[in-house]
Amino acid sequence: MKNKADIVIIGAGMSGCSIAYNLAVRGAKNIVVLEKSFICSGSTGACGAGFRMQWGTEMNCRMSKFSTEFFEHANDILEYDGDIELRQSGYLMIADTEKELTQFRKNIEVQHACGIPSRMMSLEEAKELVPHLNTDILSGAAYCQKDGFLNPHKTTDAFYKAAKRLGVEFYTFTEVTGIKVEHGRIVGVETNKGYIETPIVVNAANAWSQGIAKMVGVELPLYSERHQILVTEPVEHMQDPMVMAFNLNLYVQQTPHGSFIMGRSDSGEPRDLRRTSSWHFLEEMAKTIDNVLPLIGKLRVIRQWAGLYNMSPDRQPIYDKVEGVEGFYVAVGFSGHGFMFGPVTGTVMSEMILGMEPTIDASRLKLSRFAEGNLFTEPSVV
Protein backbone atom coordinates (compact mmCIF):
# COMPACT_ATOMS: atom_id res chain seq x y z
CA MET A 1 0.00 0.00 0.00
CA LYS A 2 1.14 3.54 -0.81
CA ASN A 3 2.18 5.61 2.20
CA LYS A 4 1.70 8.99 0.51
CA ALA A 5 -1.12 10.37 -1.64
CA ASP A 6 -2.37 13.71 -2.95
CA ILE A 7 -6.03 12.85 -2.41
CA VAL A 8 -7.62 10.07 -0.34
CA ILE A 9 -11.27 9.21 -1.01
CA ILE A 10 -13.12 7.20 1.63
CA GLY A 11 -15.78 4.88 0.24
CA ALA A 12 -15.88 2.93 -3.05
CA GLY A 13 -19.54 3.03 -3.94
CA MET A 14 -20.92 5.00 -6.85
CA SER A 15 -19.96 8.36 -5.30
CA GLY A 16 -16.37 7.46 -4.38
CA CYS A 17 -15.67 5.77 -7.72
CA SER A 18 -17.18 8.65 -9.69
CA ILE A 19 -15.22 11.25 -7.69
CA ALA A 20 -12.01 9.25 -8.26
CA TYR A 21 -12.61 8.98 -12.01
CA ASN A 22 -13.59 12.62 -12.38
CA LEU A 23 -10.51 13.81 -10.48
CA ALA A 24 -8.21 11.59 -12.54
CA VAL A 25 -9.74 12.57 -15.87
CA ARG A 26 -9.16 16.23 -14.92
CA GLY A 27 -5.48 15.51 -14.41
CA ALA A 28 -5.22 14.87 -10.66
CA LYS A 29 -2.52 12.36 -9.67
CA ASN A 30 -1.76 10.12 -6.68
CA ILE A 31 -5.38 9.38 -5.84
CA VAL A 32 -6.18 6.60 -3.40
CA VAL A 33 -9.64 5.18 -2.69
CA LEU A 34 -10.12 3.37 0.63
CA GLU A 35 -13.00 0.94 1.08
CA LYS A 36 -13.61 -0.93 4.33
CA SER A 37 -15.36 -3.79 2.52
CA PHE A 38 -15.64 -4.52 -1.22
CA ILE A 39 -16.62 -2.21 -4.07
CA CYS A 40 -20.39 -1.54 -4.06
CA SER A 41 -20.77 -3.17 -0.63
CA GLY A 42 -22.78 -0.28 0.83
CA SER A 43 -25.82 1.63 -0.33
CA THR A 44 -25.00 1.50 -4.06
CA GLY A 45 -25.08 -2.28 -4.19
CA ALA A 46 -28.37 -2.45 -2.30
CA CYS A 47 -30.25 0.21 -4.25
CA GLY A 48 -33.33 -0.08 -6.46
CA ALA A 49 -31.33 0.56 -9.67
CA GLY A 50 -33.53 3.36 -10.98
CA PHE A 51 -32.75 6.87 -12.20
CA ARG A 52 -35.20 9.66 -12.91
CA MET A 53 -35.44 13.27 -13.97
CA GLN A 54 -38.88 13.83 -12.48
CA TRP A 55 -37.95 16.13 -9.61
CA GLY A 56 -39.62 19.17 -8.12
CA THR A 57 -36.73 21.62 -7.80
CA GLU A 58 -34.77 23.20 -10.60
CA MET A 59 -31.40 22.18 -9.23
CA ASN A 60 -32.39 18.53 -8.94
CA CYS A 61 -33.90 18.60 -12.43
CA ARG A 62 -30.69 20.03 -13.87
CA MET A 63 -28.47 17.64 -11.92
CA SER A 64 -30.52 14.57 -12.84
CA LYS A 65 -30.58 15.62 -16.50
CA PHE A 66 -26.80 15.95 -16.40
CA SER A 67 -26.54 12.45 -14.86
CA THR A 68 -29.00 10.94 -17.34
CA GLU A 69 -27.14 12.37 -20.31
CA PHE A 70 -23.94 10.92 -18.88
CA PHE A 71 -25.54 7.47 -18.37
CA GLU A 72 -26.76 7.48 -21.98
CA HIS A 73 -23.14 7.54 -23.16
CA ALA A 74 -21.40 6.03 -20.11
CA ASN A 75 -20.27 2.81 -21.84
CA ASP A 76 -18.39 4.89 -24.43
CA ILE A 77 -17.16 7.70 -22.18
CA LEU A 78 -15.80 5.26 -19.59
CA GLU A 79 -14.61 2.85 -22.34
CA TYR A 80 -16.27 0.06 -20.40
CA ASP A 81 -15.56 -3.54 -21.43
CA GLY A 82 -18.97 -4.56 -20.09
CA ASP A 83 -22.41 -2.99 -20.29
CA ILE A 84 -24.02 -0.77 -17.65
CA GLU A 85 -27.40 -2.16 -18.83
CA LEU A 86 -29.13 1.16 -19.33
CA ARG A 87 -32.86 0.84 -20.10
CA GLN A 88 -34.83 4.02 -20.60
CA SER A 89 -38.21 2.40 -20.18
CA GLY A 90 -39.68 5.27 -18.17
CA TYR A 91 -40.92 6.18 -14.71
CA LEU A 92 -44.64 6.28 -14.14
CA MET A 93 -45.36 8.42 -11.07
CA ILE A 94 -48.81 7.78 -9.67
CA ALA A 95 -50.87 9.98 -7.34
CA ASP A 96 -53.89 9.07 -5.25
CA THR A 97 -54.72 12.53 -3.95
CA GLU A 98 -55.48 15.85 -5.64
CA LYS A 99 -52.72 17.44 -3.58
CA GLU A 100 -50.11 15.10 -4.99
CA LEU A 101 -51.44 15.56 -8.51
CA THR A 102 -51.14 19.35 -8.13
CA GLN A 103 -47.53 18.79 -7.04
CA PHE A 104 -46.92 16.70 -10.20
CA ARG A 105 -48.24 19.56 -12.34
CA LYS A 106 -45.94 22.05 -10.60
CA ASN A 107 -42.99 19.66 -10.93
CA ILE A 108 -43.60 19.22 -14.64
CA GLU A 109 -43.45 22.99 -15.18
CA VAL A 110 -40.03 23.04 -13.51
CA GLN A 111 -38.96 19.95 -15.49
CA HIS A 112 -40.06 21.49 -18.82
CA ALA A 113 -38.11 24.67 -18.06
CA CYS A 114 -35.03 22.41 -17.78
CA GLY A 115 -35.79 20.59 -21.03
CA ILE A 116 -36.93 17.32 -19.43
CA PRO A 117 -39.46 15.46 -21.63
CA SER A 118 -41.94 14.56 -18.86
CA ARG A 119 -45.73 14.92 -19.09
CA MET A 120 -48.96 14.36 -17.23
CA MET A 121 -50.58 11.07 -18.17
CA SER A 122 -54.27 10.21 -18.03
CA LEU A 123 -55.31 7.17 -16.02
CA GLU A 124 -56.58 5.52 -19.23
CA GLU A 125 -53.16 5.87 -20.81
CA ALA A 126 -51.45 4.74 -17.60
CA LYS A 127 -53.64 1.62 -17.64
CA GLU A 128 -52.63 0.96 -21.24
CA LEU A 129 -48.97 1.30 -20.29
CA VAL A 130 -49.29 -0.83 -17.14
CA PRO A 131 -52.45 -2.98 -17.53
CA HIS A 132 -52.18 -4.45 -14.02
CA LEU A 133 -52.27 -0.99 -12.40
CA ASN A 134 -55.27 -0.48 -10.10
CA THR A 135 -56.34 2.91 -11.46
CA ASP A 136 -59.55 2.84 -9.37
CA ILE A 137 -57.59 4.14 -6.37
CA LEU A 138 -55.64 6.77 -8.34
CA SER A 139 -56.22 10.43 -9.14
CA GLY A 140 -53.65 10.78 -11.90
CA ALA A 141 -50.14 10.13 -13.15
CA ALA A 142 -47.02 11.70 -14.61
CA TYR A 143 -44.54 10.02 -16.93
CA CYS A 144 -41.08 10.49 -18.38
CA GLN A 145 -39.87 8.06 -21.03
CA LYS A 146 -36.20 9.01 -20.57
CA ASP A 147 -36.15 7.86 -16.94
CA GLY A 148 -35.23 4.25 -16.32
CA PHE A 149 -32.82 1.71 -14.92
CA LEU A 150 -29.20 0.72 -14.96
CA ASN A 151 -27.16 -1.92 -13.19
CA PRO A 152 -25.60 -0.31 -10.07
CA HIS A 153 -22.81 -2.89 -9.78
CA LYS A 154 -21.80 -2.61 -13.42
CA THR A 155 -22.09 1.18 -13.52
CA THR A 156 -19.83 1.49 -10.47
CA ASP A 157 -17.49 -1.08 -12.02
CA ALA A 158 -17.29 1.09 -15.16
CA PHE A 159 -16.19 4.12 -13.09
CA TYR A 160 -13.82 1.95 -11.03
CA LYS A 161 -12.09 0.48 -14.07
CA ALA A 162 -11.84 3.84 -15.85
CA ALA A 163 -10.35 5.41 -12.70
CA LYS A 164 -7.91 2.53 -12.33
CA ARG A 165 -6.74 2.92 -15.93
CA LEU A 166 -6.02 6.58 -15.13
CA GLY A 167 -3.78 5.53 -12.24
CA VAL A 168 -6.15 5.68 -9.24
CA GLU A 169 -5.30 3.08 -6.61
CA PHE A 170 -8.12 1.27 -4.81
CA TYR A 171 -7.58 -0.52 -1.50
CA THR A 172 -10.52 -2.69 -0.50
CA PHE A 173 -10.99 -4.26 2.95
CA THR A 174 -9.03 -1.26 4.21
CA GLU A 175 -10.84 0.52 7.00
CA VAL A 176 -10.11 4.08 8.04
CA THR A 177 -9.50 4.11 11.78
CA GLY A 178 -8.46 7.73 12.21
CA ILE A 179 -7.68 10.97 10.40
CA LYS A 180 -4.72 13.03 11.50
CA VAL A 181 -5.17 16.80 11.66
CA GLU A 182 -2.37 19.25 12.52
CA HIS A 183 -2.90 23.01 12.95
CA GLY A 184 -6.36 22.72 11.40
CA ARG A 185 -5.12 20.86 8.29
CA ILE A 186 -5.51 17.24 7.23
CA VAL A 187 -2.13 15.52 7.22
CA GLY A 188 -2.92 11.83 6.92
CA VAL A 189 -5.24 8.86 7.23
CA GLU A 190 -4.79 5.95 9.59
CA THR A 191 -6.12 2.59 8.36
CA ASN A 192 -6.10 -1.00 9.60
CA LYS A 193 -3.44 -1.64 6.91
CA GLY A 194 -1.19 1.32 7.67
CA TYR A 195 -0.82 5.10 7.48
CA ILE A 196 -1.18 7.26 4.35
CA GLU A 197 0.11 10.81 4.36
CA THR A 198 -2.28 13.12 2.47
CA PRO A 199 -3.37 16.78 2.48
CA ILE A 200 -6.88 16.01 1.16
CA VAL A 201 -9.58 13.59 2.36
CA VAL A 202 -12.92 13.18 0.58
CA ASN A 203 -15.64 11.64 2.75
CA ALA A 204 -17.80 9.59 0.37
CA ALA A 205 -18.80 7.02 2.98
CA ASN A 206 -22.55 7.88 2.82
CA ALA A 207 -24.21 5.86 5.61
CA TRP A 208 -20.92 5.66 7.48
CA SER A 209 -19.95 9.29 6.82
CA GLN A 210 -20.92 10.65 10.25
CA GLY A 211 -18.31 8.37 11.85
CA ILE A 212 -15.64 9.54 9.42
CA ALA A 213 -16.48 13.20 10.07
CA LYS A 214 -16.25 12.64 13.83
CA MET A 215 -12.61 11.59 13.33
CA VAL A 216 -11.84 15.23 12.49
CA GLY A 217 -14.22 16.61 15.12
CA VAL A 218 -17.02 17.49 12.69
CA GLU A 219 -20.66 16.63 13.50
CA LEU A 220 -22.62 16.16 10.29
CA PRO A 221 -26.40 16.76 10.63
CA LEU A 222 -27.19 13.32 9.24
CA TYR A 223 -28.62 10.00 10.30
CA SER A 224 -28.56 6.63 8.56
CA GLU A 225 -31.80 4.74 8.12
CA ARG A 226 -32.62 1.24 6.94
CA HIS A 227 -34.70 0.83 3.77
CA GLN A 228 -35.82 -2.55 2.49
CA ILE A 229 -36.41 -4.17 -0.88
CA LEU A 230 -37.68 -7.55 -2.02
CA VAL A 231 -37.42 -9.51 -5.25
CA THR A 232 -39.98 -11.96 -6.64
CA GLU A 233 -39.77 -15.04 -8.84
CA PRO A 234 -39.44 -14.20 -12.54
CA VAL A 235 -42.35 -14.15 -15.00
CA GLU A 236 -42.57 -13.18 -18.66
CA HIS A 237 -42.15 -9.47 -19.37
CA MET A 238 -45.26 -7.49 -18.37
CA GLN A 239 -44.13 -4.06 -17.10
CA ASP A 240 -41.95 -1.48 -18.86
CA PRO A 241 -41.72 1.50 -16.52
CA MET A 242 -40.81 1.89 -12.88
CA VAL A 243 -44.08 2.52 -11.06
CA MET A 244 -43.51 4.97 -8.23
CA ALA A 245 -45.80 6.60 -5.70
CA PHE A 246 -44.90 8.94 -2.84
CA ASN A 247 -48.17 8.92 -0.93
CA LEU A 248 -49.04 5.27 -1.65
CA ASN A 249 -45.41 4.62 -0.80
CA LEU A 250 -43.84 2.22 -3.24
CA TYR A 251 -41.56 1.78 -6.21
CA VAL A 252 -41.58 -1.35 -8.33
CA GLN A 253 -39.77 -2.38 -11.47
CA GLN A 254 -39.53 -5.56 -13.51
CA THR A 255 -35.94 -6.54 -14.26
CA PRO A 256 -34.85 -7.90 -17.65
CA HIS A 257 -34.67 -11.30 -15.93
CA GLY A 258 -38.41 -11.07 -15.26
CA SER A 259 -38.35 -10.71 -11.48
CA PHE A 260 -39.97 -7.72 -9.79
CA ILE A 261 -37.93 -5.56 -7.43
CA MET A 262 -39.95 -3.43 -5.06
CA GLY A 263 -39.45 -1.25 -2.03
CA ARG A 264 -41.18 1.21 0.27
CA SER A 265 -40.28 3.50 3.14
CA ASP A 266 -41.28 3.11 6.75
CA SER A 267 -40.96 5.74 9.44
CA GLY A 268 -40.47 2.94 11.98
CA GLU A 269 -37.20 1.75 10.46
CA PRO A 270 -34.16 1.78 12.76
CA ARG A 271 -31.89 4.79 12.45
CA ASP A 272 -28.54 3.10 12.79
CA LEU A 273 -26.31 0.89 10.68
CA ARG A 274 -28.44 -2.26 10.85
CA ARG A 275 -29.02 -3.93 7.48
CA THR A 276 -31.14 -6.83 8.62
CA SER A 277 -34.50 -7.77 7.07
CA SER A 278 -37.86 -7.56 8.85
CA TRP A 279 -41.16 -9.46 8.64
CA HIS A 280 -42.91 -6.12 9.03
CA PHE A 281 -41.55 -4.92 5.68
CA LEU A 282 -42.66 -8.12 3.94
CA GLU A 283 -46.20 -7.69 5.26
CA GLU A 284 -46.49 -3.98 4.49
CA MET A 285 -44.94 -4.39 1.05
CA ALA A 286 -47.33 -7.21 0.22
CA LYS A 287 -50.34 -5.13 1.32
CA THR A 288 -49.15 -2.15 -0.72
CA ILE A 289 -48.56 -4.16 -3.89
CA ASP A 290 -51.91 -5.95 -3.50
CA ASN A 291 -53.60 -2.58 -3.39
CA VAL A 292 -51.74 -0.82 -6.20
CA LEU A 293 -50.68 -3.60 -8.61
CA PRO A 294 -52.79 -6.59 -7.49
CA LEU A 295 -51.62 -9.04 -10.15
CA ILE A 296 -48.02 -8.83 -8.94
CA GLY A 297 -49.28 -9.87 -5.51
CA LYS A 298 -49.68 -13.40 -6.92
CA LEU A 299 -45.91 -13.80 -7.29
CA ARG A 300 -43.76 -15.58 -4.76
CA VAL A 301 -41.06 -13.64 -2.93
CA ILE A 302 -37.57 -14.99 -3.52
CA ARG A 303 -35.66 -12.86 -1.02
CA GLN A 304 -35.44 -9.46 0.61
CA TRP A 305 -32.55 -7.22 1.59
CA ALA A 306 -31.84 -3.87 3.18
CA GLY A 307 -29.65 -0.87 2.42
CA LEU A 308 -28.99 2.40 4.19
CA TYR A 309 -30.19 5.88 3.31
CA ASN A 310 -27.92 8.62 4.65
CA MET A 311 -30.59 11.18 5.52
CA SER A 312 -30.01 14.92 5.62
CA PRO A 313 -32.51 17.41 7.11
CA ASP A 314 -33.77 18.46 3.65
CA ARG A 315 -33.21 15.06 2.02
CA GLN A 316 -30.57 16.53 -0.28
CA PRO A 317 -26.87 15.70 -0.44
CA ILE A 318 -24.09 17.87 0.93
CA TYR A 319 -21.29 18.73 -1.52
CA ASP A 320 -18.79 20.86 0.32
CA LYS A 321 -15.37 21.71 1.66
CA VAL A 322 -15.65 21.69 5.45
CA GLU A 323 -14.78 25.01 7.18
CA GLY A 324 -12.23 24.71 9.95
CA VAL A 325 -10.57 21.49 8.72
CA GLU A 326 -8.42 22.39 5.73
CA GLY A 327 -8.49 19.63 3.11
CA PHE A 328 -11.64 17.86 4.32
CA TYR A 329 -14.36 17.45 1.69
CA VAL A 330 -17.77 15.81 1.99
CA ALA A 331 -20.10 14.24 -0.60
CA VAL A 332 -22.64 12.78 1.80
CA GLY A 333 -26.29 12.71 2.89
CA PHE A 334 -27.68 11.33 -0.37
CA SER A 335 -31.00 10.42 1.28
CA GLY A 336 -31.68 7.54 -1.09
CA HIS A 337 -30.66 8.98 -4.46
CA GLY A 338 -26.87 8.89 -4.43
CA PHE A 339 -26.56 6.25 -7.12
CA MET A 340 -28.55 8.11 -9.76
CA PHE A 341 -26.70 11.37 -8.98
CA GLY A 342 -23.28 9.68 -9.25
CA PRO A 343 -22.05 11.48 -12.39
CA VAL A 344 -22.97 14.86 -10.85
CA THR A 345 -21.29 13.98 -7.55
CA GLY A 346 -18.02 13.19 -9.33
CA THR A 347 -18.15 16.31 -11.49
CA VAL A 348 -19.06 18.74 -8.71
CA MET A 349 -16.58 17.34 -6.19
CA SER A 350 -13.63 17.04 -8.57
CA GLU A 351 -14.05 20.62 -9.78
CA MET A 352 -14.42 21.87 -6.21
CA ILE A 353 -11.26 20.05 -5.07
CA LEU A 354 -9.21 21.14 -8.08
CA GLY A 355 -10.45 24.75 -7.89
CA MET A 356 -11.97 24.61 -11.37
CA GLU A 357 -14.95 26.54 -12.71
CA PRO A 358 -18.08 24.44 -11.97
CA THR A 359 -19.78 22.87 -15.01
CA ILE A 360 -22.96 22.41 -13.01
CA ASP A 361 -24.35 24.57 -10.24
CA ALA A 362 -24.67 22.76 -6.92
CA SER A 363 -24.11 25.83 -4.75
CA ARG A 364 -27.33 25.27 -2.77
CA LEU A 365 -25.90 22.03 -1.41
CA LYS A 366 -23.36 23.51 0.99
CA LEU A 367 -23.08 22.22 4.55
CA SER A 368 -23.67 25.72 5.94
CA ARG A 369 -27.29 25.72 4.68
CA PHE A 370 -28.45 23.83 7.79
CA ALA A 371 -26.90 26.26 10.29
CA GLU A 372 -28.28 29.19 8.26
CA GLY A 373 -31.75 27.59 8.11
CA ASN A 374 -31.59 27.82 4.31
CA LEU A 375 -32.89 24.32 3.59
CA PHE A 376 -33.32 23.11 0.04
CA THR A 377 -36.48 21.06 0.25
CA GLU A 378 -37.29 18.64 -2.54
CA PRO A 379 -41.00 17.73 -2.60
CA SER A 380 -40.60 14.49 -4.54
CA VAL A 381 -38.68 11.87 -2.60
CA VAL A 382 -39.69 8.42 -1.36
Partner: protein, 101 residues
Protein backbone atom coordinates in the same frame (compact mmCIF):
# COMPACT_ATOMS: atom_id res chain seq x y z
CA UNK B 1 -44.48 -46.85 -11.89
CA UNK B 2 -46.07 -46.85 -8.47
CA UNK B 3 -44.54 -48.41 -5.36
CA UNK B 4 -46.92 -50.99 -4.01
CA UNK B 5 -44.70 -52.73 -1.47
CA UNK B 6 -42.36 -50.90 0.85
CA UNK B 7 -40.53 -52.21 3.93
CA UNK B 8 -41.76 -49.41 6.20
CA UNK B 9 -44.55 -47.47 4.54
CA UNK B 10 -47.94 -48.67 3.45
CA UNK B 11 -49.76 -47.08 0.57
CA UNK B 12 -53.52 -46.84 0.68
CA UNK B 13 -54.67 -45.70 -2.68
CA UNK B 14 -57.47 -43.08 -2.76
CA UNK B 15 -60.21 -42.94 -5.34
CA UNK B 16 -59.42 -42.54 -9.00
CA UNK B 17 -59.15 -38.98 -10.31
CA UNK B 18 -59.41 -37.75 -13.91
CA UNK B 19 -57.26 -34.86 -15.14
CA UNK B 20 -55.70 -33.72 -18.40
CA UNK B 21 -52.07 -33.31 -19.41
CA UNK B 22 -51.68 -31.02 -22.42
CA UNK B 23 -55.28 -31.85 -23.29
CA UNK B 24 -54.82 -35.65 -23.03
CA UNK B 25 -57.09 -37.41 -20.52
CA UNK B 26 -55.10 -39.00 -17.68
CA UNK B 27 -55.86 -40.88 -14.47
CA UNK B 28 -54.32 -40.61 -11.03
CA UNK B 29 -55.36 -41.27 -7.45
CA UNK B 30 -56.56 -39.03 -4.67
CA UNK B 31 -53.71 -38.17 -2.28
CA UNK B 32 -51.08 -38.13 -5.04
CA UNK B 33 -49.27 -35.03 -6.21
CA UNK B 34 -49.61 -33.96 -9.84
CA UNK B 35 -45.98 -34.87 -10.50
CA UNK B 36 -46.43 -38.34 -8.95
CA UNK B 37 -49.43 -39.08 -11.15
CA UNK B 38 -47.61 -37.87 -14.25
CA UNK B 39 -44.54 -39.91 -13.34
CA UNK B 40 -46.65 -43.03 -12.83
CA UNK B 41 -48.21 -42.45 -16.24
CA UNK B 42 -44.76 -42.36 -17.84
CA UNK B 43 -44.50 -38.59 -18.30
CA UNK B 44 -40.84 -37.88 -17.56
CA UNK B 45 -40.46 -34.36 -18.98
CA UNK B 46 -42.28 -31.84 -16.81
CA UNK B 47 -40.63 -28.60 -17.90
CA UNK B 48 -37.95 -27.13 -20.17
CA UNK B 49 -34.92 -25.16 -19.10
CA UNK B 50 -35.35 -21.46 -19.79
CA UNK B 51 -32.34 -20.71 -21.95
CA UNK B 52 -31.49 -23.92 -23.80
CA UNK B 53 -34.90 -25.58 -23.54
CA UNK B 54 -33.42 -28.80 -22.22
CA UNK B 55 -35.86 -31.29 -20.64
CA UNK B 56 -36.42 -31.03 -16.89
CA UNK B 57 -37.99 -33.84 -14.88
CA UNK B 58 -39.02 -34.90 -11.39
CA UNK B 59 -36.09 -33.78 -9.23
CA UNK B 60 -36.18 -32.43 -5.66
CA UNK B 61 -39.78 -33.53 -4.98
CA UNK B 62 -40.07 -31.12 -2.03
CA UNK B 63 -40.85 -27.81 -3.75
CA UNK B 64 -37.38 -26.31 -3.64
CA UNK B 65 -36.16 -26.56 -7.22
CA UNK B 66 -37.92 -25.30 -10.33
CA UNK B 67 -37.81 -28.55 -12.30
CA UNK B 68 -41.51 -29.40 -12.11
CA UNK B 69 -43.14 -26.00 -12.58
CA UNK B 70 -46.16 -26.28 -14.86
CA UNK B 71 -49.31 -24.38 -15.78
CA UNK B 72 -52.23 -25.76 -13.75
CA UNK B 73 -55.74 -24.51 -14.49
CA UNK B 74 -54.15 -21.47 -16.15
CA UNK B 75 -51.88 -20.60 -13.23
CA UNK B 76 -48.16 -20.61 -14.12
CA UNK B 77 -45.18 -21.78 -12.04
CA UNK B 78 -47.16 -24.32 -10.01
CA UNK B 79 -44.79 -26.69 -8.22
CA UNK B 80 -46.45 -29.93 -9.29
CA UNK B 81 -44.34 -32.05 -6.91
CA UNK B 82 -46.07 -30.56 -3.87
CA UNK B 83 -49.51 -29.84 -5.33
CA UNK B 84 -52.16 -32.51 -4.82
CA UNK B 85 -54.18 -33.79 -7.74
CA UNK B 86 -57.82 -32.69 -7.94
CA UNK B 87 -60.66 -33.92 -10.16
CA UNK B 88 -60.74 -32.19 -13.56
CA UNK B 89 -57.38 -30.39 -13.31
CA UNK B 90 -55.89 -29.11 -16.57
CA UNK B 91 -52.11 -29.56 -16.36
CA UNK B 92 -49.98 -28.10 -19.13
CA UNK B 93 -46.30 -27.87 -19.97
CA UNK B 94 -45.10 -24.32 -19.40
CA UNK B 95 -43.29 -22.39 -22.10
CA UNK B 96 -40.90 -19.78 -20.70
CA UNK B 97 -41.22 -18.05 -17.35
CA UNK B 98 -44.98 -18.03 -17.22
CA UNK B 99 -47.55 -15.30 -17.62
CA UNK B 100 -49.72 -14.25 -14.67
CA UNK B 101 -53.33 -13.39 -15.46
Amino acid sequence: MRITQHPILTFERGKEINFTFNGQPMKGYEGETIAAALHAAGVKVLAKSLEKHRPRGFYCAIGNCASCQMVVDGEPNVRTCITLLREGMAVETQEGKGTIK
